[in-house]
Amino acid sequence: MALPAATESKDVILEVSNLSKYYPVNQGFFTRQKSLLHAVDNVSFQVNRGEVLGLVGESGCGKTTTGRLIVRLATPTSGRILIEDTDVAEIKGQDMMEFRQKVQMIFQDPYESLDPRMTIFDIVAEPLNVNGIGTFEEREAQVEEMLSLVGLAPPSAFLFRFPHELSGGQRQRVAIARALVVRPSFVVADEPTSMLDVSIRTGIMKLMAQLREDLGISYLYITHDLAVARYLCDRIAVMYLGKIVELGNSEDIVKRPLHPYTKALISAVPVPDPAIDRPLPNIKGGVSKPIDPKPRCRFYDRCPESADSCAEAENPELRDIGGGHLVACHLL
């Protein structure tokens, strides 16, 4: 499935540089002291045109926050996001309308991302309506076409039903149709399958892959499941507590993981490939929250390979160790 990565190509659709988002949090009721939760911490990556980049990591590592920053549902604390060479932070007025048509997002929870009081028709037509695209007949035709494209056929059977009358998988298809009806060139897909039954996940994944072929969309595909990422993505970025710790071609990441955290993740995934030599998982403890983190490696407390020097050293930078494979670890 995975196409050869186009890292050498200069056609970059999304460029994220040094992106950070800190949330102020209250540490207890009586303390006035302000703490910062580093949800996304100095993250840089690129997505090339037509490419699917997977963003993989445990719950709470900042995947959704990264996605929300890209579609401008949240404003960064610092850093820059360029989409097709436009700085997302500076878009205003009329350009905003264009941006909303160019960049779309599919949300994690199809039970919550569709307005319960709207019909499927109104939900899918909404992006066309608010952007004033087409006449009523044209919109209707587009909605029907999109519904068939995402596998809700015949469209007439779905148009005037409400979200609660549909199954989870059907709802997620509606959410996908709605995101794609304006023909975006870039889509942030935030774990579109994580809230669904295992039995219908494959269908949605196949659909996402198919739509990418048919419509030539570039995705940032967020998931906590490496197997899903391997199936869908050209490249994978592994995130841990707000930082990207490893980034490379999907096959490289899955078959030759280098960062201790990625290794642990791989060993936790039932990969149907006996050729892969899997080390035993031995991460200590659970994920904490990156509240006022120490300047050293975020993974230090749980790292099975940590050296004493890691405790003192600064947080390791993401470094290219050859072939577009980037790792952030002092020992590599």
Binding site: R68, V71, L73, M96, M97, R100, Q101, K102, Q104, M105, F107, Q108, D109, E112, S113, L114, D115, P116, R117, T119, E126, P127, V130, N131, I133, G134, F136, E137, E138, E140, A141, Q142, E144, E145, S148, P155, S156, L159, F160, A175, R178, A179, V182, R183, S185
Partner: protein, 320 residues
């Protein structure tokens, strides 16, 4: 990138019916479904039955005064029956007796019903429109707008308006329409704002609001198409409770005689009171009991409908 592709192998898409017809059918279906849920609530149904009974009772007034009843005798304000001593207890000619100045109690009761409906519904409508708009704006915009309206709500909630109106009313008597509007406005900026704001707040953080923003919806679009429709059921529920509070305030103020209203249920009790008959309330029961019962039942009816609606609006309260 945005060429709209009107190419359909499936043929030009066309709905079987015009869109407004489909929407109308959907609305009717959802009303029917909600009615099915509402019907399950005994207390709600009792409220509906009471309201219908009051409706019929009120509608009989113009019929009675134009056919059976002689306006000279049965007019609720200027009528007088010269054939007997007043107040007269219930009799064949005056089923609920007469008041101290010779007017028929049943006629007064009937005549007032329509106006109580008008007062209650009008002021509740004003309350709900203001409450929904202000609550939604406060929730969505937050900041100064929010603080400003919340302080107003606090003041209205804490300030003793009824006693104030009793005092002020001694100088300027409010007539029916201004009173309905004042009650509606006070209600709208008062407690209901806080309740509806809380609801709007919980709606405005739902993922479908983010989805609407990513779709390109403006603030106005999001408020009008997503937040208000999801707050409206609760507004409608509180409209029922607002009717109750408007009627009770009217009755209270009429009883103190500070409203410029020639006849109402509260006014009937006021009349009995100023003539001194409430000191012997057991003997002259017909002077206050019918009006008192009407006020109680009328308020209870709307309250009960509200309770029934609660089960439609808050599905978690449903039994099954």
């Amino acid at each position: 990138m945005n060429e709209l592709v009107p190419t359909h192998e499936t043929g030009p898409a066309s709905l079987a019916e015009p869109i407004w017809k489909i929407r109308w059918k959907l609305t009717r279906r959802s009303l029917r479904q909600n009615w099915e849920i509402f019907k399950e609530s005994r207390i709600g149904m009792l409220g509906i039955i009471l309201i219908i009974a009051f409706g019929i009772f009120g509608a009989m007034w113009p019929i009675m005064i134009n056919t059976v009843w002689d306006p000279m005798v049965y007019d609720p304000v200027v009528g007088f029956d010269p054939m007997m001593m007043h107040p007269s207890p219930p009799s064949g000619t005056h089923l609920l007796g007469t008041d101290p100045i010779g007017r028929d109690i049943l006629a007064q009761l009937m005549h007032s019903t329509g106006r109580e409906f008008l007062l209650g519904v009008l002021s509740a409508l004003i309350t709900v429109v203001i409450g929904t708009a202000v609550g939604t704006a406060a929730a969505y915009y937050g900041g100064l707008i929010d603080t400003f309206f919340m302080r107003i709500a606090d003041i209205i909630l804490l300030f003793p308006f009824i006693p104030l109106l009793v005092v002020v009313g001694a100088m300027v008597k409010l007539s029916f329409l201004p009173f309905a509007i004042i009650m509606g406005v006070l209600g709208g900026f008062g407690g209901i704002t806080i309740i509806l704001k809380a609801q709007a707040l919980s709606v405005s953080v739902r993922p479908y609001i983010d989805a609407a923003r990513v779709a390109g919806g403006s603030n106005f679009h999001i408020i009008v198409s997503h937040i208000i429709p999801n707050v409206l059921p609760l507004s409608f529920l509180y409209m029922m409770f607002s009717v109750t509070s408007a009627i009770l305030s009217e009755a209270t103020l009429s009883f103190f005689g500070v409203l410029n209203i020639d006849m109402s249920w509260g006014m009937m009790i006021h009349t009995a009171d100023v003539a001194g008959y409430l000191f012997d309330f057991a003997r002259y029961w017909w002077l206050w009991a019918p009006a008192g019962l009407a006020i109680t039942l009328f308020c209870a009816a709307f309250y009960m409908v509200g309770r029934g609606l609660d089960e439609v609006v808050n599905p978690r309260l449903r039994k099954r």
